[in-house]
Symmetry: C2
Subunit: 107 residues, 2 copies
DNA sequence: ATTTAGTACTTGACAATACAAGGTAGTTGA
DNA sequence: TCAACTACCTTGTATTGTCAAGTACTAAAT
């Protein structure tokens, strides 16, 4: 899988997932992996950054299957960010697709 | 415009443009700018890399409007790379779009 | 003749993101 | 008790793109 395409999109995917429901880190790694190949060492720093930027709040919940789970909950600011990024993505993906179509006309 | 989305896609766009017809650097900057905001200092190093990787060959043509133009021409290897990247992009964009749709179901 | 505008390209310092590899620590079941 | 799984986190590195600055060439305006 192309590493470079992922840049920036991971943030959107993580925001979308947490926007839907509160999730803990490990769970997110599993969820996001369904969409794009991703390393857990990529997700955790990203979660930290998004929390620092006030898009997420966190709380701990004890688990019977290992260490306590740190849950991430989206904030109002986070919801705004989701909207923004989602719109950006749509515009971006559309213009790339358009360019691909154009470039295939005389092929 | 989101900087990060660009990563990796710029390569595809440049390859697509040159695949369609031979182009010189400055011309490419103008062409690519139609799709994504991009600095000329981003394009030239990219062209150099793609040439080093044997996706492009170059030749010079005198110009009446300034210094000689360095034209980029796609190679067989480059054509393969276009196909590959284009397919990768489609798969990637589709799975992201799918995830966006899924995540909006219960919103 | 000199300046200005536009074309064409290069270089180097910098920022952001992702990966690989490693570490810590709790719980369960053989 | 110890392997396997869950859960979390950090560090070093590579890649890619950004930005600022600079070089250099030509044509047209002054």
């Amino acid at each position: 899988m192309n590493t470079q395409f992922k840049k920036g999109v991971l943030e959107l995917i993580v925001l979308l997932a947490v926007n839907k429901k509160d999730m803990y880190g490990y769970e997110l790694v599993m969820e996001v992996s369904k969409v794009v190949d991703v390393n857990d060492g990529t997700i955790y720093p990203l979660l930290k950054r998004l929390t620092n930027e006030r898009y997420f709040e966190t709380y701990l919940v004890d688990s019977t299957e290992g260490p306590a789970r740190k849950y991430y909950k989206i904030t109002v600011l986070g919801k705004e960010r989701v909207e923004e990024l989602r719109d950006n993505w749509k515009v971006f993906a559309n213009s790339v697709n358009k360019f691909i179509k154009e470039s295939m006309k005389n092929e």
